[in-house]
C-alpha cells in the first residue's frame, strides 16, 4: 500500500507529499503522524505540499485534521508550498482551511516552527526521546 514517509529533523517531523494521494493513503498518514508525534515528543510538524497539484476537499480536510491533531498532542504544525493554482481552486471550492498555519516554503515553515517552540518552550516535556 502507498505510504508517505515521515522524516525526523531534531524535534520536528517532516512530511513531503509527492504522489497523487489515494484517500486511504491520506488517512494512513494521519494515523502515522499522530503516533510518531506521540512516540518522539516532536514539537513541530511540517507538511510540504509543493508537489501537490490537486488539493480537493478530502485532502484539505486531512490537512486541517493533521493540524488539529498535532495541536492537541502539543505540537505546532505548518503546511508549506501551496501552488497558486491550488490556492485559487481551494478558495473557489469554499475551503479556507482555518486553523491551518501556512508558509511559502520549507525555510519559512521551519522558521515558523522554531518561533512557535521558542514562544512556548515549556509546553512539551523534554525527557521524552
Amino acid at each position: 500500500m502507498q505510504r508517505i514517509p515521515i522524516l525526523q529533523l531534531g524535534r520536528n517531523l517532516l512530511v513531503t507529499i509527492q504522489v497523487d494521494l489515494m484517500d486511504q493513503t491520506a488517512l494512513a498518514l494521519q494515523d502515522d503522524l499522530a503516533s510518531r508525534i506521540e512516540r518522539t515528543g516532536a514539537t513541530g510538524v511540517l507538511i510540504d505540499i509543493s508537489a501537490l497539484e490537486i488539493v480537493d476537499s478530502f485532502i484539505g480536510r486531512m490537512l486541517a485534521s493533521i493540524s488539529s491533531i498535532a495541536h492537541v498532542l502539543g505540537a505546532s504544525s505548518v503546511v508549506v508550498g501551496m501552488q497558486p493554482a491550488v490556492a485559487i481552486t481551494l478558495v473557489e471550492l469554499g475551503l479556507s482551511l482555518t486553523g491551518v498555519r501556512t508558509a511559502l516554503n520549507v525555510d519559512r515553515g521551519m522558521e515558523m516552527l522554531r518561533q512557535a517552540t521558542e514562544e512556548h518552550p515549556d509546553d512539551r516535556e523534554s525527557d521524552r526521546d
Binding site: 497523487d20 489515494m22 481552486t89 471550492l93 469554499g94
Partner: protein, 137 residues
C-alpha cells in the same frame, strides 16, 4: 490508461479508490490536450476528484463519461459522473452551502459547481445519480 489520440468521447470506471486517482489523472490529460490554462486544468481536475469520490462513496461505484467538445471556435470538456446508487433525496439541500463558514462540505456539490462553467445534477431516489459538468477553454 492511455487516451486514444483520435477518440473524442469515452467512459472510465469509478469502482475503487485507485480509479478515483486514475480518473483524476485522465481528466488532467484531457484538459492539457485541450490547452486549458493551468488554473482551469486544476479546477476541472479538482471538480472531477470531488465527483468521482461521490460516485464511489455515495453511489456504490459507477462511471465517468467524458466528451471533448467543439462549439464553433471554442473547445470544451464535458464529464458525466454516473452511478446507480440510492440517489439524492433533497436536491436543494445538497446544493446549499455556506461559502464563508468553511464547515462540513457534505457532498461538495456547490463547491464543484463553482469550479466549472456548466453544472447539471439529475438524481432519482432508488435509481441513481448523474452529475454533468462542462468547462470551456
Amino acid at each position: 490508461m492511455t487516451a486514444n489520440p483520435t477518440a473524442t468521447e469515452g467512459s472510465v470506471p469509478v469502482r475503487s479508490e485507485n480509479d478515483v486517482v486514475t480518473s483524476r489523472q485522465f481528466v488532467r490529460k484531457l484538459a492539457q490536450q485541450l490547452g486549458f490554462s493551468l488554473v482551469d486544468q486544476t479546477k476541472m481536475v479538482t471538480a472531477a476528484s470531488e465527483l468521482s469520490r461521490n460516485v464511489l462513496v455515495y453511489g456504490g461505484g459507477g462511471d465517468m463519461e467524458w466528451r471533448l467538445r467543439q462549439d464553433g471556435l471554442r473547445a470544451g470538456l464535458t464529464l458525466s459522473f454516473v452511478d446507480q446508487g440510492p440517489g439524492i433525496a433533497d436536491l436543494d439541500l445538497a446544493m446549499k452551502d455556506g461559502w464563508t463558514t468553511g464547515g462540513s462540505l457534505g457532498k461538495g456539490l456547490p463547491g464543484s459547481k463553482r469550479l466549472v462553467n456548466e453544472f447539471e445534477l439529475v438524481s432519482t431516489v432508488g435509481q441513481g445519480t448523474r452529475v454533468t459538468i462542462t468547462r470551456w477553454k
